[in-house]
Symmetry: C2
Subunit: 640 residues, 2 copies
């Protein structure tokens, strides 16, 4: 009998003895980090409101109670009863009964009303029909990504349960080693930006944190081939943890499944969806540029299938000796600072991922409040001694000025922007500026993946800034649904019509003018002297965006039909508005550490070019007397 | 066609074009680091004295010329002719013809006379019979280890040639990576003494340096199980390099073959033989102490079979991007400082192994003269701020005093000593002291493995200190053959007889009184107040030696026949004479670095307890402004 089976037997016994005699427990299983208790008396369970919470706190486990299949009402009968329990205002859009797990998935416009106060409505549902309700939000804007992911997971439900059960047994296996150490190996993004990847290892456990590519240097990938990375194979990893969906952190995760990885990916739910969207786009771009993609869409689906979503603040066992907690990082939707508690009070490591320290319109500032962190691995994108950014208020003023000037001239404002994050921030700025009359009301056209990315944002308002979330939740005044926003969905004809029309604002991808609909917009608008091309994000060396920003006045045009290239000259006004970064600037990074309490003993400065990491490392050392490092790739640090 | 085959074809062509038209080259092969040229005209080759040297320098390869089998005289005829060419004074003791390689192995008491001036006699042999002569020394004292190793290698000749050919092709494979880095991973002996093991890695190559055990803590072995060590398996290693034979550096090497390693071990010839001796003894001790040995004698033989012996100063390709050179380390017979030249002038790393900086009676001081060394990995056994040793002259005076006092009382001097190194140093001290009349002539009895270890020393006089070697070579006055030395080879009866006799000196293992014949000697002599137990080496915490040294006066005696334990009380005088260490003391370690020119940029202080490594690291930093580290086990440092 394996140690996990012994453990489950003991748990079965303990739970039975803790429960009232009339509640029978038919089985106890691990599924991922959760303990699942099967009962033939789900209704009685539900009647005793606090039972599950008491059990969870006694056993120090996350517990889910599921009904035995024979204790369930038939779906046909149950459907009606469930709908009666849920208030109409909840706006239920779908009910889906899974007989294998006894779960009913309820998709509703207002999930809070399905849950009820402290979960009372959920309990009422179980009391009524025996089924275990699981609630998801109906996306306020329809997102094909979200519905694809949900449908896919529904379809793969059986395999997914097998995965979760296997992972659960792995997590709760017996510890084998009596050695004690904590190590971090750098596989990428040291003294450079891009290809983030780290291994956190103990004698028991090996965890990969992020696995990204390096934009503009597609050949440079994380050092997965060195033995530190995958050891005797990808199956040697216990877990993959993803801080956020940007490709320099997520692009190479699917390749792990090609290499034989078959374990869990821990991340937030919005990161899972955005990751899928961006990885598929990554394959698309590779194909268009004639590069052989390193994996195909099948592995993207594997990644999604293996994702175990965590919410901010959930303390989750991910290995016998490691607990993971994710916290808001303020960088993009679902981005997380990941905190690892190792052993029983032995050591704590936090990886900042990419962070924004101050609040933005979209997000609360990054969390830096942990019970303990001995070592912090910290991004340094703007860690250089002079990397101070324009204040966002000033940036917004400047942007409004540009828009007003252009509007006065009868021109259009063309803004290349990243689909995820920057675009939604812009939408919020523009919506408010129009509402308050700072700029005239005019259409804001959204092209490329922006609309889809926005739809994903509105699916997960819990991950947005408090007051923004409240506006969506309570006031039902979702700014992303404002009338002026128009999703370009009819292609070239629609663009032509807009180009022929009056003043407007166009937000479009790609953010660095390296392809996508921005190329078409330039062809339409390049000759308009009254219009303005406005940069609101970082333009990397080597991109057309950077060239245009620095005064270049020719735009290469690829004529789609003939396949030949030609050039048109750019007559538009070109403006740059700094201050909308998703990254903390030097001050923000310093503040992130300064306001930590207790402060970490050691900080590894990564994810920045050589001088940024060294500047930040040196500043943190001198100001706070912390031991700091600016690691190179392929080093291993041992703590303890 | 593989790149190695292409390379060999090119070499074949070049060599043919460089040679006179009447010399035909039938084949060109790699065997280990050497290029072997087969010719149908070995005699003509031999006639042109400088041809091989010219070729070697032109091709920058080590070249061996071998005759085609059909160009050879029959052994029966050749034997007589060979003996005619070699002067009688050479003292040939064996001739062995290998038809597969065309080699004749000549064992002689004076190998130099078989070689002749600049190899002239060797060339004469080939001119006469076509066979390629290979010369080995007849051990002046018969060593069963040496003859076992030689017989074994003779018997495994075919497989050995296969191994060498495979290794040769590996070494000369094409470089695959255009990345550049040099890394060191610490697998043991950091902030501790014992279980030495390091990985030196480049994008191309992974080399294991040493693989030892930890005496007194047999469970603590190098971290071979972490993926950095053996990666996707032991076959992932390109080479194993052994600095010297002591078990804390060599004990776990055979286990690699159990794990599937099948590559070369580079070390000196005496280290190979001593390693075999000590590893077999290691298995023996494990069996006696009831521990399951981690491998068996079969793997010891594999290790010997895979050893490619190098001489001090030979620059040897061991991988496409790594050249290895071994230099005298002054610590024990065959001990080496290993220098790695990586890439074409890219980077240089030296591992000190264990060193003695000053000359001893046995050895010249450690070599620290390299064209370049950017990083030095350095032992720190006596690196602590107060680790200064008694001067050896003073130590010798003190020892002579102890011996004279004991002799005057009519007693015997019992010296526990390590078989390898310390014992031979003692023998030289005693031989000279008697020759010069500083102590009276009396028998010196050698018990345990000491005689065998001494025999190995006399087989390799080239590895001993200049003047000692000269005494053995030119004056034929081998001090180890002095009359007073008696090898105890008749067991208990002989010991009883000696114990009943008059004043004498007994050198015996084990050095820390943890077993072996010293236990029997204590039983015989414990009650003799006039006799002296004299410690001349380090006694580790927890050993009986340390207890007796600190005043304990009881010796546990295991009665061999009844199996019961009892105790006898120790009446002997107990003396400690410091100053015979095989390790450099603090001053020696500092001098080793101080007199390097150029000095290394970085020094990793290892192989010492926590305070010793940190003290030495800090002292080197403050005196020479070198970047120094006192690594922990399981860290990886990247240089470049």
């Amino acid at each position: 009998m394996s140690s996990v089976d012994r453990q489950l037997d003991d748990l079965h016994e303990t739970i039975t003895s803790e429960l009232p005699a009339d509640i029978t427990v038919s089985d106890v299983k691990y599924e991922g980090p959760e303990l699942v208790v099967y009962t033939r008396d789900p209704k009685k369970f539900a009647r005793q409101g606090d039972l599950i919470r008491q059990l969870a706190s006694k056993l120090r486990k996350r517990i889910t109670v599921r009904p035995d299949p024979d204790a369930l009402e038939r779906p046909r009968d149950a459907r009606e009863k469930v709908m009666k329990v849920i208030p109409d205002e909840a706006g239920v859009t779908d009910l889906d009964f899974h007989e294998d797990t006894g779960e009913v998935v309820i998709e509703a416009e207002k999930p809070g009303m399905v849950i009820g106060r402290h979960g009372s409505t959920l309990r009422d549902i179980t009391k009524e029909v025996g089924w275990t309700p699981e609630v998801v939000r109906t996306p306020p804007i329809e997102s094909s990504t979200v519905s694809n992911v949900r449908n896919f997971l529904k379809q793969e439900r059986d395999e997914r349960r097998d995965i979760l059960e296997r992972v659960g047994r792995q997590i709760h296996r017996e510890e084998m080693s009596d050695d004690e150490y904590v190590r971090i190996t750098t596989l990428g993004c040291c003294r450079e930006v891009g290809r983030a990847a780290f291994i956190l290892s103990t004698p028991e456990t090996r965890i990969l944190i992020d696995c990204g590519d390096k934009p503009g240097a597609e050949g440079e990938v994380p050092y997965l081939q060195v033995p530190e990375a995958l050891g005797a194979g990808a199956q040697n990893l216990d877990a993959v943890v993803l801080t956020h969906a940007h490709l320099d952190h997520s692009a190479l995760i699917p390749i792990l499944f090609k290499y034989g990885y078959d374990g869990p990916i821990y991340t937030t739910e919005p990161t899972r969806d955005l990751m899928g969207l961006l990885q598929l786009d990554y394959l698309d771009v590779a194909a268009k540029e004639g590069r052989a993609p390193p994996y195909d869409s099948e592995q993207v689906r594997e990644a999604i299938k293996h994702t175990i979503p965590l919410e901010y603040g959930d303390v989750t066992d991910i290995a016998p000796d490691v607990k993971l907690t994710m916290h808001n990082a303020g960088h993009i939707l679902g981005s997380a600072v990941t905190h690892f508690h190792i052993g029983d009070g032995l050591y704590n490591v936090a990886f900042s991922g990419d962070i924004h320290y101050d609040d933005t319109r979209l997000f609360n500032g990054a969390v830096n409040d942990f019970p303990r962190v001995e070592t912090l691995v910290m991004e340094s994108t703007y860690g250089g001694r002079n990397d101070y950014q324009t204040d966002q208020d000033d940036a917004e003023e400047r942007l409004k000025q540009v828009i007003n000037d252009t509007h006065d001239r009868g021109g259009k404002v063309l803004i290349p922007a990243f689909a995820v994050g920057r675009s939604q921030e812009m939408m919020l700025v523009l919506e408010e500026a129009m509402r308050s009359g700072d700029i005239p009301e005019m259409p804001v056209h959204l092209d490329g993946m922006i609309w889809e990315a926005t739809a994903i944002h509105t699916t997960y308002p819990e991950y947005l800034r408090d007051d923004l979330r409240d506006r969506i939740f309570h006031e039902d005044k979702n700014p992303f649904l404002a009338d002026q926003f128009n999703h370009i969905d009819a292609g070239e004809d629609e663009r032509q019509e807009i180009a022929d029309g009056g003043p407007c604002i166009i937000l479009t991808t790609s953010g660095m003018v390296t392809g996508g609909p921005i190329m078409s917009w330039l062809r339409h608008l390049a000759s308009e002297e009254e219009s303005t091309l406005t940069f609101v994000g970082y333009q990397a060396q080597g991109t057309l965006g950077r060239r245009l920003q620095s005064g270049w006045d020719e735009v290469p045009i690829n004529d789609g039909e003939s396949g030949r290239g030609s050039k048109i000259s750019l007559k538009m006004d070109v403006e740059t508005v700094d201050g909308f970064s998703g990254h903390a600037d030097r001050q923000g990074l310093m503040n992130f550490v300064k306001t930590m309490n207790p402060r970490p003993e050691k900080v590894l400065c990564v994810h920045g070019d050589e001088s940024s990491t060294q500047d930040l490392s040196s500043a943190l050392y001198h100001e706070h007397n912390i031991r700091t490092f600016a690691p190179k790739n392929l080093e291993t640090f041992r703590f303890l």
